[in-house]
Symmetry: C2
Subunit: 212 residues, 2 copies
């Protein structure tokens, strides 16, 4: 398999974690988003959305991090990243989407660029925007984990799931932009538990081949 990735892309980091949890080897192909390589050949022809990550598995070309992880979970079922019954699986997916839909899209590089370049939003206001969505979004995740009541060491039970693959990269972004996290004890306890696992720590941005 080949993974088109950018070290600082949290969507790429999600897939790197899932591949590591499954124990799968892959070739790392860097795409420098800050240099707009996603719009240039050869990447633009395999990724019509111009977004990383993309996973190539033989002739299959897959995009969107959550869809890639679902694919990995179907083709390499052990360990399961979506364990339990239909309710558990739905709650795990919902936690992942609470981050992937409600937080991350608002703080993407292209969105921040649009705010500054097109809407002439100040640097201070851009950072306020960033922190607002991270903090209110993670507060909702904190409440949701508690409400689900699945307990355990990770987001949902005692094994890492899709939800943890999405949570950890978001916390990296939160810390990089100095968002408040100290009032989210469950979220941060889960983050710390994940970071004690090689699958999360060895795939982090600073460990990537393209890290600068």
């Amino acid at each position: 398999m080949q993974l088109y990735s950018y070290f600082r892309s949290s969507a790429s980091y999600r897939v790197r974690i899932a591949l590591a949890l499954k124990g799968l080897d892959y070739e790392y192909l860097p795409v420098q988003i800050v240099k707009n390589e996603q719009f240039a050949a050869p990447f633009d022809s395999i990724a019509p959305g111009h977004l990383v990550p993309v996973l190539k598995d033989g002739d299959d070309v897959l995009n969107q991090s959550l869809a890639i992880i679902e694919y990995l979970d179907e083709t390499h079922p052990t360990p399961s990243l979506l364990p339990g019954d239909a309710r558990s699986r739905s709650q795990i997916r919902a936690l992942a989407l609470d981050i992937a839909c409600e937080i991350h899209p608002l703080n993407n590089l292209r969105v921040l660029r649009y705010l500054v370049n097109e809407l002439k939003v100040s640097e201070d206001d851009k950072n306020r925007w960033y922190r607002h969505w991270v903090e209110t979004g993670l507060e909702a995740v904190e409440r949701q984990i508690v409400r689900n009541g699945a307990g355990g060491r990770y987001c949902h039970g005692d094994t890492p799931t899709l939800a943890d693959c999405v949570l950890v990269p978001q916390i990296f972004n939160a810390q990089r932009l100095e968002c408040r996290t100290e009032h989210m004890p469950t979220v941060m306890r889960v983050f710390d538990a994940c970071m004690r696992l090689d699958a999360f720590s060895k795939t982090q941005p600073s460990g990537c081949p393209d890290a600068t």
Copy 2:
């Protein structure tokens, strides 16, 4: 089952379509987002993220539209909204996420309110922002459907899938805000095919009990 919904919420509309495609009956419980009812009892206690839709199925309380539809597909497998092999299922999910992660979150009511109320963005710039993400996002969906090469009447093959449940509500939003769509022939052909089905047309915003 009970569905907490708001007639104009495109995330709610996705689930209404899926329930209709599955032929499932449910009680419609309106949540008036424009009146901030999502922050008040009783809804706030069952939806920690303060977002519609929420589906109650017995004691199970499920949020996030895509996770709800996955749950419905697992508990009521026929007709399948994620047909085919792992690659097909991943491509269908990716199309849904191309809209649910790359377009819709940027144009949510709460995001538009933040732009205007907090960042003091003008009404014209807010509308430009809206159309930018809808148009560039749907252009990527158009290219992705063509690239997948699955053919057929709908987004992926000859039966409606999760991707169609997400595409159609996004087109409603695009048309309401007068975004350009005429240069996306595949997307609009799929939209027209879907709207010929009762599951899409009878669940549309104007047909909801809370439509104003």
